[in-house]
């Protein structure tokens, strides 16, 4: 998303639309990203329960991946996983 100039944004730090937090890619803040070992995952969904940023993607009762636009890389999913199928891997430098 291209950042706007001071002439194009509402004054006073106001956000003049609702439900637009998802347009802000907090994933940009990440240093470590979660990587899942598909073979080990048992779809217990504990990571989905604990993720503070709703960044665990689920479909038909299964854990299908990460929303990397909003995952801040906190590592809680890796920490709570009972079968240790999530690794936190350093983002490539200068990405």
């Amino acid at each position: 998303m291209e950042n706007k100039s001071w002439k194009e944004i509402p004054i006073g730090g106001l956000i003049d639309k609702g439900g637009n937090a998802k347009e802000y890619n907090t994933g940009d803040w990440r240093t470590f990203k979660p990587v899942k070992d598909e073979k080990k995952c048992i779809n217990c969904m504990i990571c989905w329960v604990y993720c503070p940023d709703s960044s665990i993607l689920a479909k038909d009762g299964k854990m299908v991946g990460f929303d990397l636009d909003h995952c801040k890389g906190c590592g809680i999913c890796a920490s709570v996983c009972p079968v240790k199928c999530i690794d936190m891997v350093q983002e490539e430098k200068g990405k």
Binding site: N3, K4, S5, W6, I11, G12, G13, I15
Partner: protein, 394 residues
């Protein structure tokens, strides 16, 4: 229609303007010498003369916070304070201007502690000069009354939307009784008009978020917008003044020039001290000394171009500061004016006099001394002290 003349103190004149403005919300905490403003206004509320929601809070931090909440909700909002009260508001003072809420706050200038002192100097509002608020400094109670009404119009202008401090000198103006010309109630109401808030939180059809997190990617843009609003104010205020002067038959201006046109030496001074300054100028003029006085009424926005023009060709000028900024080289008004004049052709020699801290009186003989020093500088071209402390015991 002729205006009514009533004997009021500066504080009462402020409360009278607030009665006529009848803001939706006033949240305030009492502090000397501002107390009489809120006390008088609270009586208007109790007597049913205004429909304002008066919120008696437990501190000035809460007062300004309640004002921000009310302002964001869409209410025309006012408060008033002095000195340590303004200091306690500090965090929210910045939030008010950054959130672009056009709140008008009469400030009765008083020295900051320590040691504790309830009398006049400008250390409270001069400390807030970088807070993004506009600031008007009033010479007398009449100006306090007029500027309180004027401030509503300026603050709420769609291309300004900034809060304003309307400053008067503690006790000297706030507690002295003067004859004040009061405008007709209806005329004031018609002049300020109905308040149409920009983005009220109470408008549920257009939901907005106030005060979100703003990091490296957008905070600077929001500050740039504030700079632009202050620049806009410099261009728009003269037009508002023309309209105000026409409506109420007044002569308000950005700056006041007193016998300055042909003056060779001059002083620059804010607020009530200009009275003694003008008497001194008159006395010197009788002796054939070409003395003059400049009184900026607005300090924010800073009318640099008007000041440069007004002081052009003067031989020597002393800027009087009723505040010490502890920089080691002069007070706040001096530094801004000298900075504005730097590099200008035909600019005067300019020095500083710090005076009146903690309510120390300044007398005509003191101001005569300042002019005597200027005469010597004008003749010799030499400055002994760039910063004088006038009225302090050596």
């Amino acid at each position: 229609m002729a205006h009514k003349t009533i004997a009021f103190t500066g504080d009462q004149a402020t409360a009278e303007a607030m009665r006529q403005i009848e803001p939706d919300v006033v949240a305030a905490y009492p502090i000397t010498p501002q107390t009489e403003i809120v006390m008088t206004f609270a009586q208007f509320v109790a007597d049913g003369k205004v429909k304002t929601e008066l919120i008696p809070v437990e501190s000035e931090h809460s007062a300004m916070s309640a004002c921000v909440g009310a302002g964001a909700a869409g209410a025309r909002t006012m408060t008033a304070t002095s000195a340590n009260g303004l200091a306690l508001m500090w965090e929210i003072v910045y939030i008010t201007s950054s959130t672009r809420l056009p709140i008008v706050m009469p400030v009765v200038n008083r020295a900051l502690s320590a040691p504790i002192n309830i009398h006049c100097d400008h250390s409270d509002t001069m400390g807030a000069r970088d807070s993004g608020w506009l600031q008007i400094y009033c010479e007398n109670a009449q100006e306090v009354y007029e500027n309180t009404i004027l401030a509503i119009k300026i603050a709420e202008h769609k291309d300004i939307l900034l809060p304003i401090m309307v400053c008067q000198d503690g006790f000297i103006t706030s507690h002295a009784v003067e004859n004040i010309e009061i405008f007709d109630d209806k005329k004031v109401k018609d002049y300020i008009g109905e308040y149409k808030p920009r983005a009220p939180l109470l408008d549920v059809d257009k939901p907005v978020t106030y005060g979100p997190l703003d990091l490296q990617d957008y905070y600077f843009e929001h500050k740039r917008q504030q700079s632009e609003a202050v620049k806009n104010a410099l261009e728009i205020i003269p037009k508002i003044l023309v309209d105000f002067n026409k409506t109420f038959n007044r002569k308000c201006d950005f700056i006041e020039e007193y016998k300055l046109n042909d003056a060779e030496i001059a002083i620059v001074v804010l607020s009530s001290t200009a009275g003694a300054g003008k008497v001194t100028v008159d006395k010197l003029r009788e002796k054939g000394i070409k003395a003059g006085l400049l009184r900026p009424q607005f300090f924010r926005p800073f009318p640099a171009d008007r000041i440069i023009k007004a002081l052009k060709g003067k031989k020597a000028v002393t800027v009087l500061d009723r505040a010490e900024s502890f920089s080691g080289h002069g007070g706040p008004l001096f530094n801004e004016i000298r900075s504005a004049l730097y590099g200008q052709e035909n600019g005067p020699i300019i020095k500083n006099a710090i005076y009146g801290l903690g309510g120390r009186d300044i007398f005509i003989k003191d101001i005569e001394g300042i002019f005597k020093d200027l005469e010597d500088i004008a003749k010799s071209g030499k400055v002994k002290n760039w910063v004088d402390y006038v009225g302090v015991r050596d």
